[in-house]
């Protein structure tokens, strides 16, 4: 399976959690990070996931992002039950359908700004010009106009600029889903606000966004808030 074709592109449901648990087995005993979660996310939603530290927010995001699979329960993403997918299939799903934005930006230090953005394109298309979007356009859309920066290494950029590069990298393959783990957590308020404006813009353009945040101000950008405590959903405004 070279690319995971969406089983039901017109199905309004993008993600469905059905009694999903995630248990980490540690020498000291099992840690239940998620406890029988049921949750449905429709296309085009903008969701903020909130909750105290250690409540399972990142774990939830990792499951949606196909970085990990549930210990029990059923998780369907874009029409695929993740339990049926091989490691390679999960990887193709991440590459083509999901964009990640992290708190620590997580750009690739060996690559320049431009190369970081080109990288997912190359993974997908081998020829970097074959896939619709162009890295320059995407970088500009992410608010990084200064082309002189494109040849710099990520560490030479400010935090806000790095996060813009990360967003450009996340959207370059035109994914339907953006996953953000505290995207403004390492930025000052003003820069964080600008990043949130950018994400809201992406959402208006049709991308589904699921964002973990501690900041209620940031969470206000989302249309739906989900609160998790101890691996269970305590509150869901959707």
């Amino acid at each position: 399976m070279e690319t995971v074709k969406a089983a039901g592109e017109d199905d309004p449901v993008l993600i469905r959690f059905d009694e999903v648990s995630k248990v980490y087995s540690l020498p000291a005993g099992d840690v239940v990070a998620l406890d029988r979660i049921s949750l449905t996310v429709e296309r085009g939603e903008f969701i903020a996931i909130m909750g105290p530290s250690g409540s399972g927010k990142t774990t939830l995001l990792n499951l949606i992002g196909c970085l990990d699979v549930p210990t029990s329960g059923r998780l369907v993403i874009n029409g695929h039950d993740v339990a049926d997918l091989s490691d390679d299939d999960l990887t193709y799903l991440r590459r083509d359908t999901i964009g990640f934005i992290f708190q620590h930006f997580n750009l690739i230090p060996l690559l320049s700004v431009l190369e970081n953005v080109e990288y997912p394109l190359i993974l997908k298309c081998r020829d970097r010009n074959a896939c619709g979007m162009k890295p320059y356009e995407v970088l500009r859309a992410a608010g990084l106009d200064d082309e002189r920066l494109y040849t710099h290494k990520p560490t030479e950029l400010s935090g806000g600029q790095q996060q813009r590069v990360a967003i450009a990298r996340a959207i370059v393959n035109d994914p339907s889903l953006l996953l953000c783990d505290e995207p403004t957590g390492n930025l000052d308020q003003k820069t964080g606000g600008a990043i949130m404006d950018l994400l809201a813009e992406m959402n208006r353009m049709g991308k589904t966004i699921i964002m973990v945040t501690h900041d209620t101000g940031v969470a206000a950008f989302a249309h739906r808030q989900v609160r998790i405590v101890d691996g269970r959903i305590m509150e869901d405004t959707g």
Binding site: L67, D87, T91, A170
Partner: protein
């Protein structure tokens, strides 16, 4: 596509330049050791075969010595009689048969004295075995020819007088051309005297050795068999050995030396392999987070593997190319030292031993890269992302 991962590998090696260089050095040494020994071995074989095919082979016949006859048959033969020489001539056909005496004597030249080996042979046979560099060949019953080593040892000139142990004197009429290591006789270190003069002074019952110059290499085996049939039917009387056989025993000894040095090369390759393994395991650990990022944005396991294998291959290739280039220098030096010639350095078989060494170098690096590559590709993406 793979260019991207190649580029990753290249940049990572560059990022850790010093470490990478150390890993390369091991490969260089291993390849150098294996290739240089290969070149020497080849040059040796080539030079000897070339010499054999130009001058032809010579078959040495010597009396069988050692246990002789335990049953008191009384035939303790340590000489080759005139009759046996006649038989040998018949067997040899048109190939020249040269019987001679081989002995040693204390000589005195001016104030210097010392022991030299002496070959006494028919004056007609002398030009069949040696060439004169200065002076002339022996004519008649007097005069000696001196080998270049004897000349330098005793400061001989054409015309110098040599006094033998028993008081006889002879003049040097010619000085031999240097011949190098021979398989039949060693004229460089000897005097050659006329056999009649020698026989007059010694009560000899036979020759010490006979050399048959064999023009056609293929005849050597036939002749050996014929000699064996004629003389050694009931018991061993005459032993024969050809340059070819001596060559093969030299090659056998050389083979052992070269196995030894190749083993040293192999050990240094193993050490290099371990150091590459070590460097790459460090790299996997240091880049855990990076691998997590790459995986999270859609890099396949196989692509991560590819990236690390390229890294190992690059270390191997750089080390092997450097080692291969240095092998020309190493092969040059070692051939010059041991064979006094370097003309076989660019012979195809020498080049192929460099290719072999390089192949080993690259294979070692590749093998050492397999485990780290596997390890890196099997990191769980979330563990890798959590890693700081």
């Amino acid at each position: 596509m793979s260019r991207t991962f190649f580029e990753f590998a290249r940049r990572n090696l560059q990022r850790n330049l010093f470490r990478s260089l150390l890993a390369v050095v091991g490969i260089v040494i291993g390849v150098l050791a294996i290739s240089s020994m290969g070149i020497l071995g080849n040059s040796l074989t080539l030079s000897v075969t070339e010499e054999l095919s130009t001058v032809g082979d010579s078959l040495s016949v010597i009396p069988h010595s050692g246990q002789g006859s335990q049953f008191g048959a009384g035939l303790v033969q340590d000489r080759i009689s005139e009759r046996q020489v006649q038989d040998l001539r018949r067997i040899a056909g048109s190939n020249p048969v040269i019987p001679f005496y081989s002995t040693a004597d204390r000589i005195q030249v001016g104030t210097k004295s010392g022991v030299v080996s002496i070959y006494a042979m028919d004056t007609d046979d002398i030009p069949k075995l040696v060439e004169v560099d200065r002076g002339i060949l022996i004519r008649g019953n007097s005069g000696v020819l001196a080998g270049p080593r004897v000349v330098s040892q005793f400061d001989l000139k054409v015309g110098s007088q040599i006094r033998f142990e028993n008081g006889d004197t002879q003049r040097v009429v010619g000085i031999l051309k240097e011949r190098g290591l021979g398989f039949d006789i060693q004229p460089d270190y000897a005097l050659i005297v006329p056999s009649r003069w020698y026989e007059d002074r010694n009560d000899e019952k036979g020759y010490d050795q006979v050399i048959i110059k064999v023009r056609n290499l293929d005849d050597v085996d036939v002749l050996e068999k014929a000699i064996d049939n004629r003389f050694n039917r009931r018991e061993d009387v005459l032993d024969t050995f050809s340059s070819k056989e001596i060559l093969s025993s030299i090659q056998q000894v050389f083979g052992q030396i070269s196995t030894f040095t190749t083993a040293i090369g192999g050990i240094s390759l193993i050490v290099a392999g371990i150091s590459i393994l070590n460097v790459m395991m460090m790299s996997v650990t240091e880049r855990t987070k990076e691998i997590g990022i790459l995986r999270s944005i859609g890099t396949l396991r196989s692509e991560i593997r590819q990236m690390f294998i390229y890294e190992a291959l690059m270390l191997g290739a750089i080390g092997s190319v450097l080692g291969g280039l240095l092998s020309f220098g190493g092969g040059y030096l070692i051939s010059l030292l041991m064979l006094q010639t370097t003309k076989y350095l660019f012979h195809p078989s020498s080049l192929s031993s460099i290719a072999l060494g390089m192949g080993f170098g690259i294979a070692t690096a590749l093998l050492s890269g397999l485990y780290p590559a596997w390890k890196a590709s099997n990191l769980s993406p979330i563990e890798a992302l959590r890693y700081e």
